[in-house]
């Protein structure tokens, strides 16, 4: 399976270029015409990304997350799942590098075989860094009013979080 993704990009590029040549497209010229927007788009994204990343950095550096975990752990115990995975649930939509850090830490303390690490890894794999995706995609087209996109994204993340716990328990029992 993994080999497939190594193979697929060069093949797609080959296919697009060859199809273009067959259809008598001026491939080089059209490539340039399309690619010239790349810089402008990246520049558009900057303010959106700065706003998002700096707010998340402040939240993470303050240690409020650890405090939140202490508050939420009785709830986790009551519902019968390990409280440690809550940190992954909260950090996952906020930052990609942060959630990798959380996962690495959980592996360090609990070991790869533990159910905690398995749940956290499934959460990591099953959802995306919602706020980053939001900043990049809406930043690229300069949209400030994101309507209900955040709600939809975060509710989906929450569903992924719950599903990761239930599915992992069911699958490994």
């Amino acid at each position: 399976m993994q080999q497939l993704s190594n193979l697929i990009i060069p093949l797609i590029i080959l296919f697009i270029i060859c199809y273009g040549l067959i259809k008598r497209v001026a491939v080089y010229e059209e490539f340039i015409a399309g690619a010239k927007d790349g810089f402008g788009i990246a520049i558009n994204i900057i303010p959106y990304l700065v706003a998002m990343l700096f707010a998340i950095a402040i939240f993470r550096a303050s240690g409020a997350l650890e405090f939140l975990l202490v508050l939420l752990s009785p709830l986790a115990n009551f519902l019968g799942f390990p409280a440690e995975v809550i940190s992954m649930g909260i950090i996952r939509p906020l930052t990609g590098s942060g959630s990798i850090g959380v996962l690495a830490e959980l592996i360090n303390t609990h070991g790869e075989e533990s159910i905690i690490v398995k749940i956290a890894a499934v959460m990591f794999g099953a959802t995306e860094t919602t706020l980053y995706v939001l900043a990049v995609y809406f930043g690229a087209i300069k949209i400030n009013n994101t309507s209900y996109a955040v709600q939809a994204g975060l509710i989906a993340d929450f569903a992924g979080f719950v599903a990761a716990i239930l599915v992992t328990f069911w699958y490994f029992s």
Binding site: Q2, L4, I8, I9, I12, I13, I16, Y19, G20, K23, V25, F31, I32, A33, A35, D37, G38, F39, I41, A42, L49, V50, F54, A55, I58, F59, A61, S62, G63, A64, P93, I100, A104, K118, A121, V122, G125, A126, T127, E128, V133, V136, Y137, A140, I143, N145, T146, S147, Y148, Q151, A152, G153, A156, D157, A159, G160, V162, A163, V167, T168
Partner: protein, 293 residues
């Protein structure tokens, strides 16, 4: 909603750090102005200035500069609070302290004072991240340009048109407001295909291309359309069959065992994303309809 989340992150962060710092000041947690006594031994009998300082089982090399001043050398294994202090004073490998009193075996030291430590760390993190955000965005220039170039060829050659015909029936239900045979269907399906295969590098530029096309169709250029929200929801819930590369890097072959649970969980989040986006879209249409009447 985003306004509230954004402000919430900043306010919670700063207020929380401030509360901790005030607590530290009141209880003098960092022992500012309190002399601490450590054992030491002399390395070089001739000069008597090179010493080894014993700090909670750590042996630290230090040099006595004069009667009042000592410089402690630190490395990664040194006690954490020493490293933190040194970092905040400019050089994480050297910590300066003043000598209060000295006997043959013991040194009484006054370490540099530490105030508002949480807030300082937080400010630094905020500035660092702002800088990193720019690097991150500029790092996307090349890859966005590459895929936009390829997409331009694919559009001109009619490849996208062919694709749209195939995927249109499937995607029409999710994106009812995209006109028939519109190239946006092509970009959206390519973005989803890249996501499914875990090709993050290709997925983002293709997604941006799709967003641009959706923006052309958007009646209100300042506000996200229903189509965009649906597309975002699909992207953030990450439909994927292959685990992300970062997960493989962390867990190695272990990931193979997790494949089935990941696919099941991600399906749940994706289905939820579609339902939620559809419900919101219906509600906003209803609102528009009633306001027109």
């Amino acid at each position: 909603m985003l306004n509230k989340i954004w402000a919430g992150l900043i306010i919670i962060g700063i207020v929380f750090a401030l509360a901790q710092d005030i607590n530290d000041e009141i209880h003098n947690t960092h022992q500012n102005g309190v002399a601490q006594t450590f054992d030491f031994s002399i390395i070089n009998q001739n000069t008597r200035t090179q010493i080894i300082l014993l700090v909670n089982q750590h042996k630290l090399n230090a040099r006595i500069e004069n009667e009042q001043r000592i410089i402690i050398n630190l490395d990664r294994q040194s006690p954490e609070n020493f490293i933190k202090l040194a970092e905040l004073n400019g050089n994480k490998n050297r910590l300066q302290a003043s000598i209060v009193s000295k006997t043959d075996q013991q040194l009484s030291l006054l370490l540099p004072e530490l105030h508002w430590q949480k807030l300082r760390v937080l400010t630094q993190a905020a500035f660092d991240m702002a800088e990193f955000a720019v690097k991150l965005a500029l790092g996307l220039v090349g890859i966005i340009a590459l895929w936009l170039g390829l997409m331009q060829i694919a559009e001109k050659s009619g490849l996208i048109k062919q694709m749209v015909k195939v995927v249109q029936p499937l995607l029409h239900w999710l994106f009812p407001n995209i006109p028939k045979n519109h190239p946006a269907f092509g970009s959206i399906s390519l973005n989803m295909a890249a996501n499914v295969l875990g090709l993050g590098n290709a997925a983002t530029p293709l997604g941006i291309k799709a967003m641009q096309q959706l923006q052309q169709l958007n009646p209100d250029k300042n506000k996200a359309s229903d189509e965009m929200c649906m597309f975002l929801a699909l992207n953030t819930s990450s439909v994927q069959l292959l685990p992300p590369v970062t997960l493989i890097a962390l867990m190695g072959t272990q990931v193979a065992d997790l494949l089935v649970p990941i696919i099941l969980a991600t399906s749940c989040s994706t289905i939820t994303a579609v339902i939620v986006a559809k419900v919101y879209a219906r509600r906003s249409q209803h609102k528009n309809f009633s306001s027109k009447n």
